[in-house]
Amino acid sequence: MAIKRLEISRRRVRQNLIGWCFILPSLLAFTLFMFLPILLGFWYSLTDYTGLSKDYGFIGLANYARMFQDRYFKVSIKNNCIYAIWYSVLTMLVSLFLASLLNRLSRCRKFFRIAFFMPYISSMVSVAIIWKMIFNPQGGPLNTVLAQLGADSLPQWLASTTWALYAVIIVSVWKNAGYYMMIFLAGLQNVPGSLYEAAALDGAGGWQKYFRITLPLISPTIFLNMILVTISSFQVFDLISVMTDGGPGMSTNVLAFRIYQEGFRQMHMGYASSIAYFLFAVILVITLIQFAVQKYWVNYD
């Protein structure tokens, strides 16, 4: 009996040892590049660290107080919210629309998939450079087409403080819609065809079927995409860095860009860290709200 117990406990020690051996590499990586930065970043946000000298002090919540006095920061929040709302709503609508169409078509699927996925697979930098030229107000293809369609006052796009942000939104939707479309498509293909037949027997029309059967049944997919889209809408950076550099003026300056500018251009790493933590809080709160509200509309059976 005692020997058996000893055997079991030796086995358990061995299991523990092996288990920890397997996670050791990841634990090192996570400690050094995740856990430590998360703590260190929060500590920086409470200091006047510049990133240059090791000589810095604790200043409490002063950085957080400063954010709400900072005109640039406030503008970047406003821009980011406008971006997030337009980008999220448009991306969801466009991708759901495309997926619903694609789901009904049986031919040329491969071609459609390639066409809609190509922007997503391409790097943000190259895509931003191409669109920068398409948006060229003098003779760029977009305004050429608009002029041919008979528009009299053509937008100045990236040269205009009112239009630049919307230009960024257009490119983001164009680039990412294909990805969410494919996720929607996977959801749509799981809707059993028998339900539609039953509904047709009951005399339901096409729209009725779509709103009464399809949408409720894919509500978990809608929810998933909503979470992914809103989170990503607060992390937009590459596109803005390449296409507008935050301008003209402050018109396309968003939170992630502000963190970069304060941290790596102005060398206010302490202050930039507080904005970084604010960004984290925003994403966390929005995600939590979405999870809290989901039980009222997401259908899991």
Binding site: I18, F116, P119, W174, L228, V242, Y260
Partner: protein, 273 residues
Amino acid sequence: MNKKISTVLFYALMFFMSLLMIFPFLWMLSTSLKYDSQVFTVPIEWIPDPVNWSNYVKVWTEEPFLIFYKNTAFVAVCATAGQVFISALAAYAFAKIKFAGRNFIFGLYIATMMVPWHTIMIPQYQIISSLKLTDTHLSLILGQLASAFGIFLLRQFFMTVPDDLVEAARIDGAGEFRTFGKIMLPQAKPALATLVIFTFIQVWNDYMAPLIYLNSRHKYTIQLGLKFFQSEHTMQYTVIMAGTVCALIPILIVFLIFEKQITDGMVHSGLKG
């Protein structure tokens, strides 16, 4: 009859939307083969006449694109291999070995998925720089090693492999590493392929980490090289477009060959993540 008409309309609509999606790429290609005077013509001249190949010559002679490719390939291959290997080890332990602290550590890893990279990039930069690794490719590789997403994805898959299979190998006297290498990894090929594709494309297209870490031009990755190439040739649209074609071509070729696997892989990982 009605149904036929609506199907035709749907196809027409879909083709129109696809055209909108591809249009910027076509414009890029066409512009890269033009002379400056042909760029902004009304109506748009899709097939340039005459065709001008010299933009590509200019790109390759003025810009070390070959070095950019090499740098990017090196970083992407190492980062992907490192991340997938480390994630697979951890995922195996989380899925098939019972050890003290398992759930706690797994929970900690998963919690990091909530933290956006922008929140930790400054302290991460400081850690890398105190290791004296800024302006090295190693900094870019190290930054990719900790991936909660990768561990989660592989763990999900490993859990579907029956315990009996693993137990049988253990009873046959295979060590845990052998069981992992000989039984688990071959079983998990689809999941591993998904993670490889996902990580590789993400690292290949990454812009912000190279922007922060790299200073010397000969160490640039393709995205960073392209960005600076663009800002140095502001008004030379045709040359910039030729450069962009060069930067895009490798990933587009890979995409066209492995279209099915890539799309499925990326969608699959979105569903799991």
